[in-house]
Symmetry: C2
Subunit: 553 residues, 2 copies
């Protein structure tokens, strides 16, 4: 089963590797905290320090450790040590989530979606109405059984998603076909007490998301909205996070528990060649409306009642993790300018004990002017005036935190009436005449945004390979690709493929098999109906579609 | 104990009355749902209906039932029947909460407060660090003891507030006095599984709020922020909700569990003469920083460590309930224009079967122009073009929902080049030349906002009575006043006062005693230090302050 948020199983065999990686990351984090504690003392004594707590793992060598170091050290996340599997979202990541929230909220308001807030608890009775749905979520439910020192008469579960919380009220509120489309969304957090390994942003026992729940008169109208929302999800990735995605439909095995069909945007992590589900927009069909008795009178036929067609769709903070994985590098986080809280950091430099008072004063005035000009140009910027730190220390610090553009300004720049800059994404350096910064810096930020997308897009395109020979599948996966193969769409065949595409790495550790990621809407050519066979050699059925498979999160 | 959200006890004796009222409201709601179901059928058959499901209880006669009818029928709230004590916030109330959220968020961003999101669960170990705090909240904790079908090794509680969730991390993150002030805020919901009677918005087992948690170097700096935040809270009430409040400090009995002192804004409900706590801003002193070991090195003395001074402050969706109680009337909700999603509803009328096509067309064009002009003027407006409903039905419907201004436009208005209007708050009617609407309607909306505030303020002022004779206290309460009395500030004396100010109503039901609401910052004259005695005749101590007491929520 699939759903609107992280639920992909991590195969048993890779758990130990992940645990090892997590342990290493935690040790690194503790080490850095210790170092920071020492640094604190040093700073406290008024001495200078150049100790920067950088990323110690290499992205290409130890990706899981690298990732966990980045999200910790760039201060996006803190592990919640009190209860395992939970994370604290710090201001650096909340800012990004709020940019996304605002953008998406405007889009859905444009569709007429209204905001609501339902309770966080669910009664077992509501949940049990849809059989596949309860089976899908029951193993992950957190049960409240006590209040104060008293046992509850009937335990309640923390919502893992809100279909069963909301739909009894849809039955009450939707009175006529005139009430359709009926569309509500809520921004909240949900709890799925997974036994699987957790990873910051990608898989947590509690995560923030939005969940939209809508009702329509016909399958066609519901289906249109499913795709409109999916396009907004693609927009979050492509336009805000500079992350390319493939739009498609989930196979039966991977669709939402209890739904009719699921559409998805699928991403790709070049560092390990894994696919990752980006966000999902589900058509629930009439399954839930039949169970919860949500009907309207048919406008075309008096007295006839129709069960409404429903959708649900969700986008979670997982998006932030995908962005970090794709853009980050060995120096730390790399943020696309559109979602960066700080787009430009100005670092004044070159002022020493020998600098004349006149130059000092002029320099300070110019820096102030520069900051004012950037703010006026709508650039989110700040000046690093911290004392006791050298420019290289500051460079490292802002690189770790992913600020897209560093501006340096010293007496030499002042003489030439320019600023010097360094791009975070490419390291490229250059100068811009001070007179032009109000136009050139916003342009440069947009260029960075576009270049980051293009780079990620090129990597995805280069590693999304059409395979028409079964023998080439596993080598393609081992070479960090996702594959497009002719596939019969049968659930059992899909299970079989998952089993038969495991392999071993150099150390003899088993690599997970591939699973279906999506049936891309954009189908390549070359599949002949009634002729092309499913690529699984033990299947023998006709291929129905090109399907994207891969090892995945 | 008091805290940042509803916890005022409802005395046992008034519970049965409340239960009766709630039952009546639920019956009314069911009745209206049934009527609506019938109306649905009628509408479904294409027939017209003039049945409006209005408020049946009178505000002055049966205030609790009236309130519950209003929040239900104006579609602000739905009872969550699955689990008692929980409510659904519908779009009509979420809109208001979001206006408040945006306004307050901008204010605190201006102070440098950043956003965060901590897990919703709390370990017992963290909670137990502060003794008064755990005692205050333990009886209301919801305990998760099971995940899926497995018992948790260590049960976890849903946060009732986040001091104990957050402060272990403050100890980690605050490394130097340079990190101060350290200020985080989160928008979330918390759970307090109260045994007390719940009321929509005012007291619920789960409620939405913001909780700010900050750390400062000195008591003075912490204290300054406490008041800045309190002033923002007053602004939410006074500037957005048109609700007057009194600023003050809580007595020891009523302060936050584990805190140092609590400041508050206190409101007043004219219909029943009760005081109501609006929102609270606490200085926690060093109590929590000592327990959680949050220290920095003293910038003035090398090697000396200081425990930081902490604040926490919260504003909940309770504000919406207070606004409804104060402004609503027998026709339903009355919304202040600044927080109304729909400020103006335009109702075209006077077009009949006899109207000439020429007039019809011109009228339709004018209505369209009118709507466009209002939108352009920044007025949140809509046109009610629903067919099958008479103008009076529409009037009632929008009055029930509290839209501040109704604009009517018929052929007669068209002849005179005016629109007709009716104010929701006063019922006052008038006309405005069409040419002037872009300026006159926004002005009128501001007038309505101001008049609503003034009316509520006059009611508060008239019922906030200075009392200097003990015998006059209970009669004053029975006449729906809150009182200002000279008071010794002793906790035991306060308990005694609560006991000795009970009275009986005409039916012989016991009325609750009064409790202290706040020590107003603005103290009346007439209290002579060392001379004026505490008003409680059995006390005999000197009065320290004028204190506002009242029956309260």
């Amino acid at each position: 089963m699939a759903d609107t948020a992280p639920t992909t199983a991590v195969p048993e065999q890779s758990k130990s590797a992940l645990k090892k990686a997590e342990k290493a990351a935690k040790m690194a984090a503790e080490k850095s905290a210790k170092a920071a504690k020492q640094a604190k003392v040093v700073v406290g004594q008024g001495k200078k320090t150049d100790d920067i707590i950088g990323i110690t793992a290499k992205k290409e060598e130890d990706f899981p450790t690298w990732y966990q170091e980045v999200v910790l050290k760039a201060e996006m996340i803190e592990y919640y040590n009190e209860i395992s599997g939970f994370f604290i979202m710090r201001p650096a990541s909340m800012y990004i989530w709020n940019v996304i929230r605002k953008w998406f909220q405007e889009k859905i308001e444009g569709l007429g979606v209204e905001e609501t807030s339902f309770p966080m608890f669910l009664s077992a009775k509501s949940l049990e109405k849809e059989k596949d749905h309860v089976e899908g979520f029951a193993p992950e439910l957190a049960w409240v059984t006590k209040a104060g020192d008293k046992d509850l008469e009937v335990p309640v579960a923390v919502r893992p998603t809100s279909e069963a919380v909301m739909y009894p009220y849809y039955a009450k509120w939707i009175r006529s076909h005139r009430d359709l489309p009926f569309r509500l969304n809520q921004w909240n957090s949900v709890v799925r007490w997974e036994a699987k390994q957790t990873t910051p942003f990608l898989r947590a026992r509690e995560f923030m998301w939005q969940e939209g729940h809508t009702a329509h008169l016909t399958e066609k109208l519901a289906g249109e909205e499913v795709l409109e929302i999916l396009e907004f999800y693609a927009g979050v990735y492509e336009q805000l996070l500079a992350v390319p995605v493939v739009r498609g439909k989930k196979t039966e095995n991977e669709k939402f528990a209890g739904g009719y069909y699921t559409t998805t945007v699928e991403g790709y992590i070049p560092s390990n060649g894994r696919g990752i589900q980006g966000a999902t927009s589900h058509c629930l069909g009439q399954n839930f409306s039949k169970m919860f008795d949500i009907t309207v009178e048919d406008p075309a036929e008096q007295g006839k009642h129709i069960h409404v067609w429903q959708n649900s769709w969700g986008l979670s903070t997982r998006v932030i993790g995908v962005m970090v994985m794709i853009h980050g590098d060995d120096k730390g986080l790399v943020l696309p300018p559109r979602i960066a809280k700080l787009q430009v950091i100005v670092i004044p430099l070159g002022i020493t004990a020998k600098t004349s008072d006149e130059v000092k004063e002029k320099h300070a005035a110019k820096v102030e002017q520069l900051a004012a000009d950037l703010k006026k140009a709508g650039v989110r910027s700040d000046v690093d005036t911290r004392e006791g730190y050298t420019p290289p220390w500051k460079f490292n610090d802002w690189e770790l935190k992913g600020v897209p553009l560093r501006v340096e300004f010293g007496p030499k720049d002042m003489e030439k009436d320019v600023i010097s800059y360094a791009r975070r994404d490419t390291g490229e350096k250059g100068t811009i005449p001070i007179a032009d910064i109000a136009t050139k810096i916003p342009e440069l930020l947009e260029t960075i945004q576009q270049d980051m997308y293009n780079k990620a897009d090129a990597a995805y395109k280069a590693h999304r390979i059409q395979v028409t020979e079964w023998e080439k599948v596993v080598p393609a996966l081992d070479a960090k690709n996702v594959v497009l193969i002719p596939f019969c769409l049968e659930p059992q065949c899909e299970e079989k493929i998952k089993d038969t595409t495991k392999s071993k790495d150099e150390q003899g550790n088993e690599r997970m098999g591939m699973k279906s990621l999506c049936i891309p809407f954009e189908q390549p050519e070359g599949l002949v109906a009634g002729e092309t066979k499913c690529l699984n050699p033990t299947c023998g059925k006709n291929a129905e579609s090109w399907v994207q498979f891969g090892r995945s999160y």
